[in-house]
Amino acid sequence: MSETTPASSDNAQIGRRSAGLPPAAPMNSAAPVNSAVSVLADVDPHLAEAVAPDREIAVEVGENLVEVKNLTVKFGGLLALDDVSFTIKRGEILGLIGPNGAGKTTCFNAMTGVYKPTSGDVLLEGKSLKGQKQHNITRLGLARTFQNIRLFGEMTALENVVVGLDARHKTSVIGALLRLPRHQREEKSAIERGMALLEFVGIADKAGILSRQLPYGDQRRLEIARALATDPKVLCLDEPAAGFNPAEKEELMVLIRKIRADGYTVLLIEHDMKLVMGVTDRIVVLEFGRKLADAAPVDVRNDPRVIAAYLGEPEDGTA
């Protein structure tokens, strides 16, 4: 997939909004191969600018952007999530890990409105997401990708991304029917921003290809671009490395760092410990629906409880 990365040697500053970020989070021992001064070094500054988040966020960098409070989910008699609390701070990459069935995806689904929590709450910028429709949660700023890819197969890559962009559009049905000025304005800007996003994830040259015809890796990247298109305050990635080989995983880590460096906050669910350790600033560990640990990667790695939970499970199950 390396051919898709634009070869620009321009080592300029990163985007406006990302300038205020804290220095890149401490990298632990499993640091990525291409450790650079800035992860955005090889990104065109205009591109970074075009992709960067485009709206005000009520909390400052480093403050709590999302608060998960005593979240509990029951399916019938099954307690899938038991009183889980954690926070996501603006500007960080938070990892959410746990053995199979630990409740990672359930937690995710409860946050994004797919499941109704039995009790507890999720706050975004201090405001509760309780009772919000799924599409509204996305508009409020919580975007996600899917563990099993769920693109709109009969749409081109660009169209997929524009669907995400539509979340921020305001054209009415009548406006679209009669091609009123706002519609024209939004359509034009959507093309620009959509192409920029595709460029950012490295598949701009495939903008016109039907998404179901894209190679697997590009489909994963497209999902990320589509989620970014909704202009999220928090980008939630659900096992984005599933089915990737080690080289692809490295590239994915670069992409995730790039995304953060551009001003996004990222929640990463991942099975692959190496990837999680390599890219996150902080890790929340779930087991049997409970929170087991919440600490920096190094500490999590050395936490005996975590080790116990993962005992017998290979760290890199899919490779």
Partner: protein, 403 residues
Amino acid sequence: MSMVDGPKVSAGAESARLGADASSVRTTAKGTRTQRLRDRWNDLTRPQQWLWLIVVVVLAYLLPVLNIPILTTAPGNDWPLACFSMASFALIAVGLNIVVGYAGLLDLGYVAFFAVGSYTSAMLTSPDSPFLHIPYLWTIPVAMAVAMFFGVVLGIPTLRLRGDYLAIVTLGFGEIVRILATIIPAMKGQVGFQNVGRPPGVAADGIPIFANSNGTPWYWLTLTVILIVLLLVGNLERSRVGRAWVAIREDEDAAEIMGVPTFKYKVWAFAIGAAVGGLSGSLFAGQVGFVNNQKFDVQSSILFLAAVVLGGAGNKVGAVLGGALVAYIPLRFTAIADYKYLIFGIALVVIMIFRSKGLLPARQRLLAYGHQAYRRIVGKSDPLSQPPGALPPSVDPGAAVTR
């Protein structure tokens, strides 16, 4: 059968990957013929495309006058009226295509909206009706509005249901409208409404221009309506509305999670489809001049669906073609009248098994300015070098569908 329609855990990412690859191989191997046609169309310059379109539209307008010997239905049926019949089926198919083709909602009771349109026009113009009478042309927007209202009323409860329940509920709704027309005395059952109104104008010989025997003006009226509808539907298709519909069709849950208010857009699809159905019903009532409960049966709904599927669900030009064909075949080959439904039944099965995308497979253009964007990818290496706003505004005629 999971009770919660959330994202499902796949059997394994690896298999998903294999599936994705396999399907891409399969699809690229197929459909080369239509692809070539499409490519050729795309290679044309804008003025060339326009020229071709004008030729096609002019030919379409001349259709009832030309009366081409091979095509004509003449020995059995009046050709201009057959043309009208084709046009009105085409219009219905365009409307149903919004619901089935774009949004992927299987509506098996579409004839109900057609009936609502017909009855609205009839009851507001026929001397047999005790209602207020208004000029026929005014009943067309009223019929659309009433049909749209019914679409919303039906849509709001049923569109919350799971996908395939919708099929059965709409089927029931279609039957209910027909039954109500039969058993509510005010709807006059089989007795029906005679002398439904028509657009004004009388020809030199004293016969109204829009007499029920005069197919050509009715055809021209309907064709004009089709062109306007195609243009407007094209506008919708290349907007967030069209994208929302196709996203819902492709993966409703994912669409919702990507910020598409799926319920709202489903209701819109239903309402707009219903309005077009009401419109065609109104035109049909005007042409025949007589409305009773006889022609609004389930079979008609199925024929409409067959038209959409035959043409290629999701492709509005395909819908026009499919609608015209479904109307044309029994009129041209009157001998098959007895076999009509058998032939359509077999055709549906065979098409679904061997060519499930129909005669003109769908490929929506969902971006108003996609043309330029895609061209840039081919032309230049850096798609962002062009400043925004440099894009020339384009007005796509609705008939130009292929990418």
